[in-house]
């Protein structure tokens, strides 16, 4: 099966590109990034503020099952409907710094569209840390599994 989401992350660079083709008309794809109640649903986060305009800003907040709150925020540098968004993104209270994001929305056919996300980090190591976050989570789960197994053996 072909993978719909592609990641391009060259070794030693502080940037990456995420691309994805959607079975959605361009307008619907763009709408998913603009309407707060829709963003909340697919991103799984609360939208505290989302100003879709040049010099606007946004604030999201996620609550984990334990009730801990995580903040995400940034400012919008460019906003061209159905075409382009340039914004910064930052996870509050983490060492991952600020990233610069270029979103390009493109119509493929009447019913399909494409998103290209170009993300630039402050350094190579910051990019690599962000890339490895989900993997580290997987390793931790594997580690917990070992713990479980060892506890059972005793």
């Amino acid at each position: 099966m072909e993978q719909k989401t592609k990641i391009y992350a060259e070794d030693g660079k502080q940037e990456l590109v995420i691309s994805r083709e959607f079975d959605l008309p361009l307008e619907l794809l763009f709408k998913a990034y603009v309407e707060p109640d829709i963003v909340e649903q697919w991103m799984g986060t609360k939208v505290l503020k989302l100003e879709n305009k040049k010099h606007g800003s946004y604030q999201f907040e996620t609550t984990d099952p334990k009730g801990n709150k995580y903040g995400f925020n940034g400012v919008i540098h460019e906003f061209i409907p159905n075409q382009k968004i340039i914004r910064t993104f930052e996870m509050a209270n983490t060492p991952f710094g600020v990233q610069l994001e270029f979103y390009e929305f493109e119509q493929l056919t009447d019913d399909t569209s494409k998103l290209m996300m170009h993300v630039i980090y402050e350094s190579v190591s910051q990019r690599d840390q962000v890339l490895q976050l989900p993997f580290a989570k997987g390793i931790n789960m594997a580690h917990n599994r070992i713990q479980d197994i060892l506890t059972k053996v005793k």
């Binding site: 993978q3 959607f22 709408k31 998913a32 829709i38 697919w42 390793i139 594997a142 599994r145 070992i146």
Partner: protein, 106 residues
Amino acid sequence: MNLRRDVFQAIADPTRRAILLLVASQSMTAGAIAANFDTARPTVSKHLQILTECELLTQEQNGREIHYHINAKKMKEVADFIEPFRQMWEDRFNKLEALMKKHKPK
């Protein structure tokens, strides 16, 4: 058997990730590795075979024993371990797509 193994397939399995984690701290014999799992020994051997075929582990003959080492170079390749990151975005975008397919214009 010359079946080419996919590295991502190799690290997709939780037991194999656990094995990599164990061997990452020190090289071990198959027996020592198997002792950490309550899975049958042949199952662990099979996992070791797959990890070796993918070159994530290397074998070293030490007298009568075979020690397994982690192959840091190959790990780095996988490495930057992009697959879980990609999967995270894939899930997110799938959600977006499903949601917008049901979306009725107001």
